[in-house]
């Protein structure tokens, strides 16, 4: 076990090194100017451009730029090319809002997806199954931004409800409980829209595995023993059906930080997705490389946790 973990960690370090090299070169070799003032700007002299390149090491050969960037990343001194703020500060100031949104959305995905799947699996081939299938495929097919726009327009124009940002502007002047409800509302709406696709996909998974499990012999045995339908479904069948989902639970960790550019933009939500998107548009190399690196590290960590969790849960799995 210990040697397994040590070996995995060693491989992870190599993997991360490769990820950082590849992401650095993809980012820096992308066409486009890293200058904050754009192309064709008559107010910027050659000298000012040279000064900017020098300040952010853009005049160095690429391998040296890479070395400098990694040195600064690990010493925490890496700064953005656009505002010179430390990259880690820029990333971490958005973590709370991003994690809140994604955690809630994930909870909604499983909270709605699993019951919907079970519901459909128990009524296989009858109208509730057909209805959820249709609904699920519709949600998978419809683009998220389109649903978001419809929802925003409906909520704002018809219902007269604010949806932009983390809270209604100026809500801090109202009572604390109103502010709390307001914040909850501003979290629920985007999280709900963000969860729609996931709910649809997860409900399909659960429906399939659950439908299969329900035909197993041990389910018939359990029913024959006279166990209540509740116990049969949730203790026996569900435990076996959600194992594929649980085995991937470690991968949810990077999911928590993965932003959604479109949802965050439409709802003016200050998440990591927008930070990454703006960094791509502005060719802010340090922010992009640091973001890639952190997400890659989390993916590797999540994989490790998944494997360990699976080994702990399933005696057939041996780590060696």
């Amino acid at each position: 076990m210990t040697s397994f973990i040590l070996r995995r960690l060693l491989v992870s370090v190599l993997l991360l090194a490769m990820v950082s090299v590849i992401s650095f070169f993809i980012v820096t070799l992308t066409p486009g100017s890293p200058y904050p003032w754009g192309d064709l700007n008559p107010k910027i002299s050659e000298q000012a451009k040279a000064g900017y390149r020098k300040k952010f090491h853009l005049d160095e050969p690429l391998p040296r730029q890479y070395a400098l960037m990694m040195r600064d990343l690990f010493s925490g001194r890496l700064v953005s090319n656009k505002d010179e703020r430390p990259v880690l500060t820029k990333i971490f100031e958005r973590v709370p809002a991003t994690v809140a949104l994604n955690a809630l959305s994930m909870a909604l995905v499983f909270g709605f997806g699993i019951p919907a799947g079970i519901w459909a699996a128990r009524r296989l081939g009858r109208w509730p199954d057909t209805a959820t299938t249709l609904a699920a495929f519709a949600l998978i097919a419809l683009p998220g931004f389109w649903i978001s726009y419809l929802l925003v327009i409906f909520l704002v124009k018809v219902a007269g409800m604010p949806v932009l940002g983390l809270a209604t502007f100026g809500v801090e002047y109202s009572g604390w409980w109103q502010a709390a409800l307001d914040r909850t509302w501003h979290l629920l709406v985007p999280a709900g829209v963000l969860a729609l696709g996931g709910i649809a996909v997860q409900s399909r998974y659960i429906r399939a595995t659950m439908a299969e499990t329900l035909t197993e012999d041990y389910i018939r045995t359990a029913r024959a023993k006279g166990l209540s339908e509740e116990v049969v479904l949730y203790t026996h069948a569900l435990r076996n059906s959600i194992r594929p989902i649980l085995s991937g639970i470690g991968l949810l960790i990077p999911e928590l930080l993965a932003g959604s550019v479109i949802i965050e933009s439409i709802f003016a939500y200050p998440g990591l997705g927008r930070l990454g998107y703006e960094a791509v548009m502005e060719r802010d190399y340090p922010v992009l490389v640091a973001l890639n690196f952190i997400v890659a590290a989390l993916v590797i960590l999540g994989n490790l946790i998944s494997d360990l969790a699976l080994a702990a849960a399933d005696p057939r799995v041996r780590l060696s």
Partner: protein, 683 residues
């Protein structure tokens, strides 16, 4: 039934929070809320380049000069300013100089409009102090003295590359002792500019450098009539304090310029200050700047926000990033209060503002990055203003609850011809193309009527724009006639041809700009009618710029300029600016325009500037190096009468509704007030 627990909890949470949000009553507050797509990045005037940054900086920072609502330069932190110039003429020897001195002294009384204040000779040179900067007086003086007597002055750069500093200093010290070398200015970490008198002086210095095997390399020389050094003296207000209570003095202006020119700061704005020879605080409230040569647009550079020396001196720019650029201290009407990334920036009233207390308690600048969301935010009164898209203007015009403002913007769209290609070298062909494209229809269908035909390179609202230019009317017959005159006649396939060559070209533009793509389509259709075949190519922006525009590898492009309010367009039209990566992308060259552009930069007299700029505009418009398309209007909407303006006059207040001015519809927001919150009247 545990699995159904979460849906129930979620439903309850949605219901409860929706109820809470729906029943919450908001008291109207005496604050402004605005929204924009883009977010500010750096609240530091010498480092920022984006419009979002400038918007916030206008509230927080103060500058020596500023634009008023008619785009006239007015004093701000400087109470007043004076311009003058010292012109130095060089002679072969002291005798020639004293003879010239005599001639100037006897002539100066005959020509009071030269503005000669004093004349003195000093060895082989004559120094003349002029009350008016610019080159006109110098030309007159040379005429009086005799052109052949005055030595020409040649200026040229020397580039040292990677040479160590001490070697460079030795070379420069030796260079200063060379005959004819008059001045050496440091213009960069490894570059100097040298002025040397006498014909061929630059060549002699280059020979000397080469003989000595010194590390410097001379650049191309420019010949001047003498050394002309304009000077600006700003007298500063004495009643200004920074937001932290410290007094504002000339030391702050000196510090700001020092930082602008500091290599470690790497300010993108340094180009405007590179011609400064010296700057100093002659006393705590007087700031004096001397330039190496006349460059009249330099005055506009003093609209730059100034930095507080007492907070920033001795700190590295990485320290600025978190401690100043994100929480700036200025002298403006509003103080910085809070910045939440990707959410909003909040500014609060500066009670100590030197022009009087602003009326609003606070200004909140929200970031709403989506076009639909920002419109909804405006329609539901979550923000007070909206920069209306052209297609939506009609909807807002008809609603009485909104006030709509519009005026010409400082930008224009154009088709740029590559004049290096034989197809576009005949001016008759370019004029024919101007007649063949239906610009009024373009304005009607692409801008919903919110724009006007562009009449050349200056926006029509500028005081130096030429008011007498008539547009090329849409006239396909005239276009055909001009093309026939140039030898282009319809071929068998209906496409014009000359000497067996068909009139067909590629028109390039960039992705992600729908209007430009539409322009290309309309041009294609219009030109097809007179027998010209256009292939439209839409490219990704960076590929478009780096592979085609910068390398001059194109027939024609659809592009636009937003050049602000500056009359100096040397970089866009001068023939010297057509190299790779430079901005005269079409390779336009007209010696008369070159001369006017150069003269325009050294002219300080307002009437002369208007004449020169107007002539430049007319000549370029006649040459049609671009097919100038249109000047779009910028439009803004506000909920009706949310704000009114109450401006301090010397002894009273002037009250008026918000209106569109040349500078926009919402300038000087410190004097905006909400009629539901009457301003406290303390003039």
């Amino acid at each position: 039934m545990l699995v159904y627990g979460l849906p129930v909890v979620a439903a309850v949470a949605v219901g409860l929070s929706a109820f809470g949000v729906r029943t919450n009553q908001f008291k109207p507050r005496n604050e402004m809320v605005t929204g924009s797509i883009g977010e500010a990045k750096i609240l530091n005037p010498i480092l920022s380049t984006s419009a979002s940054d400038s918007e916030v900086e206008a509230y927080v920072f103060g500058s020596l000069l500023e634009y008023d609502e008619n785009l006239e330069v007015t004093p701000s932190l400087a109470e007043s300013w004076t311009l003058s110039q010292e012109t130095t003429l060089y002679f072969a020897d002291a005798a020639a100089a004293s003879e010239a001195l005599g001639r100037v002294q006897s002539a100066r009384n005959q020509f009071p409009d030269w503005g000669v204040e004093s004349v003195a000779s000093d060895g082989d040179r004559v120094r003349v102090r002029l009350s008016k900067p610019g080159s006109a007086a110098t030309r007159a003086l040379r005429g009086v003295i005799g052109e052949e007597r005055v030595l020409p002055l040649e200026t040229f750069p020397i580039e040292f590359g990677e040479t160590p500093g001490n070697t460079r200093d030795e070379v420069l010290a030796a260079l200063l002792t060379q005959p004819g070398v008059r001045k050496i200015w440091r213009t960069g970490p490894s570059q100097v500019e040298v002025a040397a008198s006498g014909a061929g002086a630059a060549g002699r210095v280059a020979d000397w450098l080469a003989r000595d095997e010194s590390p410097g390399k001379c650049g191309p020389a420019e010949t001047l009539g003498g050394l002309e050094q304009p000077e600006i003296v700003f007298r500063l207000r004495k009643d200004v304090r920074w937001h932290d209570g410290q007094p504002f003095t000339a030391a702050d202006a000196v510090f700001t310029v020092r930082m602008l020119l500091d290599d470690a700061v790497a300010s993108p704005r340094r180009a405007d200050y590179e011609l400064i020879e010296s700057y100093e605080a002659t006393d705590p409230y007087t700031f004096r700047v001397v330039y190496r040569r006349p460059y009249s647009p330099a005055l506009l550079s003093w609209m730059m926000g100034l930095l507080p020396r007492h907070l920033l001196e001795g700190k590295p720019t990485t320290w600025w990033a978190e401690n100043f650029n994100r929480k700036p201290i200025g002298t403006g009407p509003f103080r910085f209060a809070e910045w939440r990334s990707n959410e909003y920036i909040r500014l609060v009233r500066n009670d100590d503002y030197f022009k009087g207390r602003p009326h609003l308690d606070a200004v909140n600048l929200r970031v709403i990055p989506d076009q639909v969301a920002i419109r909804l935010a405006f329609e539901t009164r979550q923000i007070d203003f909206w920069a209306v898209d052209p297609h939506a203007v009609g909807a807002f015009e008809q609603k009485p609850e909104f006030s709509l403002f519009s005026g010409p913007s400082a930008s224009y769209a154009y088709l740029g011809w590559n004049l290096r290609r034989p197809l576009f070298q005949d001016v008759r062909v370019r004029r024919a193309l101007a007649h063949a494209v239906n610009v009024p229809d373009m304005v009607r269908y692409l801008l919903y009527g919110r724009g006007s035909q562009s009449l050349g390179t200056f926006p029509p609202q500028m005081w130096f724009a030429n008011p007498d230019i008539r547009p090329y009317a849409y006239d396909p017959d005239e276009a055909r006639r001009l093309l026939a005159e140039a030898g282009w006649v319809p071929g068998a396939d209906g496409i014009l041809a000359r000497d067996g060559r068909r009139f067909a070209f590629d028109l390039l533009t960039n992705q992600a700009n729908e209007v430009r793509k539409d322009i290309a389509t309309l041009v294609q259709a219009d030109l097809r009618k007179i027998g010209i075949e256009v292939k439209v190519q839409v490219l990704e922006w960076t590929v478009f710029i780096s592979e085609h525009v910068n390398k001059a590898d194109f027939d024609a492009v659809v592009l636009g300029w937003n050049l602000g309010y500056d009359y100096d367009q040397y970089q866009i039209w001068h023939s010297s600016q057509s190299g790779p990566g430079q901005l005269n992308v079409g390779g336009y060259a007209n010696p008369e325009v070159d001369r006017l552009l150069a003269e325009l930069r050294t002219e300080f007299d307002r009437d002369r500037i208007a004449t020169l700029a107007g002539t430049t505009q007319r000549l370029i418009y006649e040459d049609q190096p671009y097919l100038f398309l249109y000047v779009p209007e910028s439009c803004g909407a506000m909920w009706r009468d949310v704000y009114r303006i109450r401006r301090p006059e010397p002894s009273s207040w002037k009250e008026e509704p918000v209106t569109m001015t040349k500078a926009g519809f919402a300038v000087h927001r410190e004097w905006f007030y909400r009629p539901d919150h009457r301003p406290v009247l303390v003039p």
